[in-house]
């Protein structure tokens, strides 16, 4: 498990990348994060939900109620064109950050 600050800093990036390919609903996003991180990153509904609201208000994702046959309606989130642009930017920033951090740490080892 990582500490809260690390989680907080990456949460938006994680959510955005998960809805990049197809729209997902809130609980699904939380489960996917947990599954892909093999349980090392977990978001409970109570902490993920405000992030979704915030992203929606900034126009990065858009929610839509979808009713599938035999199921109750769920709110599905998809990436907006503006969100797609931000995600690409943030991805670049993140990768650069990771590379830079690694470089710094390697330098420390040598």
């Amino acid at each position: 498990m990582f500490n809260g600050n690390l989680k907080k800093g990456s949460a938006e990036l994680l959510v955005l990348s998960l809805v990049e390919q197809r729209p997902r609903h809130g609980y699904d996003i939380g489960k996917l994060i947990e599954a892909r991180s093999r349980g090392r990153i977990q978001f409970r509904i109570g902490s993920l939900y405000p992030i979704l609201c915030r992203l929606e208000h900034r126009g990065l994702i858009a929610g839509r109620w979808v009713e599938r046959a035999g199921e109750r309606r769920r709110r599905y989130w998809r990436l907006t064109p503006f969100g797609r642009k931000c995600l690409a930017d943030q991805r670049g920033v993140w990768k650069e950050f990771v590379v830079t951090v690694n470089q710094v740490m390697r330098a420390g080892h040598v």
Partner: protein, 953 residues
Amino acid sequence: MSEWIAYVRARLRLSGLRAEREVEVVEDLARQLEDAYADALARGAAEPDARSAAHQHISDWQTLGRDVERSERWKESRMTEGQPAVSTRNAAPGRPALVAIGSDVLQDVIYGLRMFRKRPGVTAVSLLTLALGIGANTAIFSVIDAVMLRALPVRHPDELVLLKWTATKRPSLHNSSSYGDCANQFVDVRASGCSFSHPFLSDVVAQSTSFTGVAAFANAGQITITGHGAAGLARGQYVSGGYFDTLGVQPAAGRILHLADDTPGAPPAIVLSHGYWQRNFAGDPQIVGQTLFVNGKPFTIAGVAEPRFTSLTPGVVRDLWIPLSFKPQLVERFDPKNDNAYSWWIVIVARLRPGVRTAAAQAEIVGLFRNDTLLGPKPIFREADNPSVLLLPAQTGLVGVRARFSQPLDILMAVVGAILLIACANVAGLMISRAAARQKEMAIRLSLGASRARIVRQWLTESVVLAVFGGALALILATWASRLLAAMMGTMAGRPDLGLNISLDARVFAFTTSISFLAGILFGIAPAVRGTQVELTPALKDALGRAAGARRRLSAGGALVVAQVALTVVVLIGAGLLVRTLQNLRGVDAGFQTQNLLTFGIDMTLARARSTTADQVSADLQRQFSELPGVVGVSYAEDVLLSGSSSSNSFPKPGASDHTDGEANRLAVGPHFFDTLRLSIRAGRDFRADEYAAAAARRNAPASDGAKDMSPVPAIVNELFVKTYFPQVDPIGQTFGASKTPEYAFAGWVIVGIVSDAKYDDLRKEVVPTFYVPISGAGYFALRTAGDPATVVSSIRAIAQRMDLPVFAVKTETEQIDELLYQERLVAQLSGFFGLLALALASIGLYGLLSHDVSRRTREIGIRMALGAPRATVLRLVVGHGATLALIGAALGTIAGVGATRYLGSLLYGVGPADPATLAAVAVLLVAVSVAACLIPARRATRVDPLIALRYD
């Protein structure tokens, strides 16, 4: 599912969210918890364990609620560093940013309306105040719009130009006439005018290449109409053949006049105005083609002009149009000299050919004009006089009634502007007290993270909503008020039909909308700023919050009251000066007795057509009128005194060795004129019957008769005339004004009597040298009655009707003077009314501030009284506060007023802008009203029961 919704609803507290958004959040969260529960069950958990697993997903409901609320507030949803989404932070998904702002604004508006409903009293007072302020502005502006700004009612008015001549010296003319179509200056150094001669018009039409058409016109004055019921009078206008075609006026019935109608030998035809057609022929289309007798001459009615064409010159309304070439037939004893190059009487408007620049057209016309006025046997101008012609846009060049109304309207616009400011200050005061009452609400909003800008926007939205409602009310008020105003202007000017189409057009609507918004922002700023200046902790604790906010609210509210009082003082000083001016003018000694004097005109055109001379008819009428009971004197003259019009003559100054000219007013009067008017003959005698007979003989001699009567005309002069021209000698028997030039041989006037001084055309003007001569022919009658002159009016009409003569302009001399003073009366009455309105608004403002103050300080007053303060001290405390504000405002207002009223300048008479009496009266009035406004809340303060007051918090 409903179980989970109930679960969420019971725990999640959301405020400040739109209801539908709240429902959405609850459902969304409930759905996810249900998913988590189902997921746990699917993984084989027992039912209670699955439930508890779902419950664990949200443990801190308070934080969740706050986080959701915060993400809903656009200002707070700023991204973490390095994120680029600032510009669209407000954009709802899939919708443009503006729509999102719009929905936020809508939310503010709805919230504002809810707040207004909570305090209906304050809201009603604010709305009414705003409606009065904005309504007064809209009403005055709609009149300004109709009088000053409305486009001429013709096709492409922007292409029309008005010809206006200028020179550095008066032209040497035989005769020149103007009828208020444009601003004339008939003085040396800077002479100008827009009357031209008939030959010049012909030159422009024949020679100029810059125009597609020329529309010339001249006043035909009052004409008699017969052939359709009883004899009637109408206002006619002579127009050139190209008039209607050039202006692009369409007929409503029949046809308009064309070039062919204005040629020698053309069949006589006229066009009626739509209004005249409606009034006199009930809009009957069958009238086209029928014959009407104009001054006794038959004319065919060719058609009726379209309704919107009331007049080309603003406010100069005509009933019918006659081709210019018929003027010689319609004017009695037409003198061909009056149609030559030395007689200027025609106004020329032309339509520029597309592509021709005004400068080029002007150069061409200047060439024609200089040719006509500098050359020839007797040039009108010399080269040094620099004669020229300007082509002005007809829209602004044709002033008409604009000249009479522009100054009063400007003043009134300034006055109602001040009223609006007072209204804004008043409403701002109310809003500030509202802001104080809502301090706790604001503190909560701020502590929840709302930005100050957001709060300011909420306040401004509420103000603008209030102003817009006020503006809507104002439009209703203004529709009614502007009609009243137009009627008032017409009646006061003695011309009920000004042809003003006062309506709420797009321009007026835009004006009202913009001043409403402006007002909303203006009175919203103070409370908005005050509203955000909340010290959170004390405000939330409420009791202390009130005390902490108190001092500042006092100063903001106090400043607004001072501003209101100051503006009110300015308006009142202006109104006071105008009222004093009116009083002064009414009190001016006209030199003759103006009470119990009835004046009216009788048109003799028809009498002449029946080959009775006007002199016989006048004498007959004079005899019949004098036999009426209650009539003590009857006479007639060529003009009514103090009607604004005058005639004058210039003549070589008697006794002067150089060739300087003297000038004097001249009035032709009938028998017993001086008796009737109560002018006293100081020396010499009144005119004799044989002198009237001689005048009639002179008039009735054929114009072409070469054998001129070479005896001097008898004249009675006023005392000032004697002082000016015959100071040293006995004036009786002296002659003046003799001319020996072959063209105008004249034996001059011989003085037979001296009469007391009297004002002639205007009360404002000093008495000028005046001489009276015997009248021949028709004129305006003057009847002196023992009692109320109104009682004899019907008998007069009956006598005139028996002789089939139209009576017109029946007025008492007092009414005549009122008409002369229309401008002064208009501004004095309206500014007086607005001054009282300002006073009322300001005292409401003062009252509102103080009563709010008293209720806020109930506890303090209670403590003071519990500690033994007498009631008088408490009374003094409150009244003293109000009176101090009023005095500061009055002092500031007086200083501003003395500066501002200097612009009234030429409107004032017998009173200076810093008139001490007016200033003192205004100050006393204001302080009295202010103290009265303070007394009500002050008395309430003295009735505070200390016990109840101390329990108050």
